[in-house]
């Protein structure tokens, strides 16, 4: 399958008072039409910064993004702002965790939705209004007319997220980046929103990048998964392989930490310690200090990526790696 979105060697640096800090390092992934890629990780793993970097939504003065982002083979990272605006929203749309902060509190839902439509589709007036109502109906809001006249604060969290999805879908994007879209919602509402996203994907063939910390959501939604830790992708696999035979100790740890619904457990597995800050990444593997399979080499040399078949890749010394290209080896 020809990839729709191709991100390669993406790195993001932040300028801070303590100097330049690399928050995302050498992240690469591809996504085909109709596919869902999950990016999982804990707070501070760089999953949100990755998505903001792809969308080029980070402030230019504070953040330096390197690497290549291609949509249909067109390089996005070198586009001028004006050209980029045609892509962003039109071809790639994004929804966020807290729809309340993404919606403007002083404008009615209808106005905000029509604004997006007018900006991107060239439809005006009555046409824009009709499309807005249709979009609200598409995301399962039956009282769409009434919804057009509501303000964001009058809606529940689930309704707000539906509105956000309607807005993101207004230009029929090819890629939807969803950053923790259901984290703030109750499980019953989460189930509704996940179903809605799946249905829209089936109807329109949208590719989805789903950023989440919830492995349950990943298992239900995704075709393939990238696990991030401390700014790097440490493991990548199709969803079944990842859950059945995880290779990286961090992935294994994450899966085991999750409380089981079906069994009685006396004790939960836990990963000792916490995610290091960029200043404490060290020379070797960034997970080394928390890893139960740590070896001497792990503290000194960053692990290379080992491939298991076509679809699974893991960044860990346990598997040797194919190419030990590292400045630290001294060779």
């Amino acid at each position: 399958m020809k990839p729709l979105l191709e991100v390669s060697h993406l790195s993001t640096d932040f300028h801070t008072s303590a100097g330049k800090v690399r928050v995302v390092e050498n992240v690469s992934f591809t996504l085909a039409a109709g596919q869902t890629l999950g990016i999982v990780g804990e707070s501070g793993s760089g999953k949100s910064v990755t998505s903001l970097s792809v969308m080029r939504l980070l402030p230019k003065k504070r953040a330096v993004v390197q690497g290549s982002i291609k949509l249909h083979g067109t390089e996005l990272s070198t586009l001028k702002d004006k050209e980029l605006r045609k892509v962003r929203g039109n071809k790639i749309a994004m929804i966020f965790q807290e729809p309340m902060t993404a919606l403007n509190p002083v404008f009615k839902i209808g106005n905000q939705l029509q604004e997006a439509i007018i900006q991107h589709t060239g439809k005006r007036g009555k046409q824009a209004r009709e499309l807005a109502i249709q979009l609200l109906k598409d995301v399962g809001i039956s009282a769409a007319q009434q919804m057009m006249l509501s303000y964001p604060h009058q809606l529940s969290g689930g309704m707000r997220q539906r509105v956000m999805i309607a807005m993101a879908m207004s230009c029929d994007p090819e890629v939807l980046i969803a950053d923790e879209p259901t984290t703030a919602l109750d499980v019953t509402i989460q189930a509704q929103i996940l179903d809605l996203m799946k249905e829209l994907q089936r109807k329109r063939g949208t590719a989805i990048v789903l950023i989440t910390h919830d492995l349950g959501v990943v298992a239900e939604m995704c075709d393939k998964v990238a696990v991030m830790y401390a700014g790097q992708i440490v493991e990548e696999a199709d969803v079944k392989t990842l859950f059945q035979s995880p290779k990286h100790p961090y992935t294994k740890g994450l899966l085991q930490s999750h409380p089981q619904l079906s069994d009685d457990q006396q004790r939960l597995f836990s990963i000792a310690g916490q995610v290091p800050t960029p200043a404490h990444y060290g020379d070797g593997c960034r997970f080394a200090s928390r890893c139960s399979s740590r070896m001497d080499i792990c503290d000194k040399i960053p692990p290379a990526v080992t491939s298991f078949g076509d679809s699974q890749h893991s960044r860990c010394h346990l598997y040797g790696g194919e190419a030990h290209v590292s400045a630290h080896t001294g060779s």
């Binding site: 499980v187 019953t188 509402i189 189930a191 179903d195 298992a219 239900e220 999750h258 939960l268």
Partner: protein
């Protein structure tokens, strides 16, 4: 069996609200007749969606919110009738841990001072050195080191802050601890550390937990019994394993089926509830759940179901039974 540590009878918390200038005020029924018994040493979980009243219940039990009706018997004594002074003394035995430890720790106090404060109030006979010793012992008990006592909340990670929240609640060696979403703000790997810690402390210190959470997998792990709340009422209560394996109330069934399971090979039939939880201001008539219930019958609209024992120690409030 010895007497239960906590017995809640028909607890109510109604908030009046103004409908209009010339109308009689309406009532928001945040808690609408909750009855519950907790035995010494067990963990009872309260689950429900936002707006179900689970946090209000936790706070009302400690009289952080004053109930408008009903009784709370703690070790045989009705605490709703106690004076403020008596209640203050009793607080040494009943403590609470909040979801966001950052919001519940004073940012200008060192961790040490935060932990000393309850001791100063309730154990005023302790000398400075003894205070310090108690604080250090508690820090070690929750998996931190004495030097953490000199830090400020912002210098700690989320997991460490929650350890402090737990230490603060446990330093007076209480008997009952209300845990209000204690791990919801934490990452999975940190969450499991804290859950294990809470379990260890329970065994070591003989604690009784009321564990409030919206996360059913966590509840499945930590609790002995679980009560499901909907719009201020308990709709189902029973032993955790039994409730998860054999949910009676359609709401419980839907809640459990909605949990995403981390297993891509498992294809389950999910019951997707239509709509949101109604506002407690306009409680539906009859069974409050009938507006979203996939199994609603005619009588559900008019008749309120009572909590009935269906299985062994397994209660549900539903007309199906």
């Amino acid at each position: 069996m010895s007497a239960p540590i906590l017995e809640v009878k028909n607890l109510q918390k109604h908030y009046p609200y103004k409908k209009g200038l010339f109308q009689k005020p309406g009532l928001t029924k945040a808690l609408d007749g909750v009855s519950l018994t907790i035995e010494r040493g067990e963990t009872v979980a309260i689950v429900g969606e936002s707006g179900s009243g689970k946090t209000t219940l936790g706070k009302t039990l400690l009289r952080l919110i004053e109930p408008t009706g009903g009784e709370v018997h703690f070790k045989g004594r009705d605490i709703t009738e106690l004076s403020a002074e008596q209640m203050r003394k009793l607080k040494a035995d009943m403590q609470i841990v909040f979801q966001d430890p950052y919001g519940s720790l004073d940012p200008k106090w060192t961790i040490g001072r935060t932990l000393e404060e309850p001791l100063r109030t309730h154990r005023s006979h302790l000398s400075g050195a003894a205070l310090k010793q108690e604080v250090n012992a508690m820090l070690e008990r929750v998996g931190l080191q004495p030097h953490h006592g000199e830090r400020y909340p912002h210098e700690l990670s989320g997991g460490q802050r929650q350890r402090i929240g737990i230490a603060r609640a446990l330093i007076l060696q209480p008997e009952l601890v209300v845990l209000d979403e204690p791990v919801s703000a934490l990452d999975v790997s940190i969450q499991s550390q804290i859950l294990n810690l809470m379990q260890d402390l329970q065994t070591e210190m003989g604690l009784t937990y009321l564990f409030i959470s919206h996360d059913l997998s966590v509840v499945r792990f930590i609790s002995n019994r679980v009560a499901v709340m909907y719009l201020g009422k308990v709709v189902e209560i029973g032993e955790t394993k039994e409730v998860f394996n054999n949910p009676l109330h359609p709401y419980t069934e839907a809640l459990i089926s909605a949990i995403p399971v981390p297993n891509p090979n498992l294809k389950r039939e999910r019951i997707v509830l239509a709509g949101d939880i109604p506002s407690p201001r306009n409680q539906p008539s009859g069974c409050a759940f009938h507006t979203r219930c996939p199994k609603a019958m005619a009588q559900c609209k008019t008749l309120q179901p009572d909590l009935k024992e269906i299985g062994s120690k397994h209660y549900a409030a539903c007309h199906l039974f």
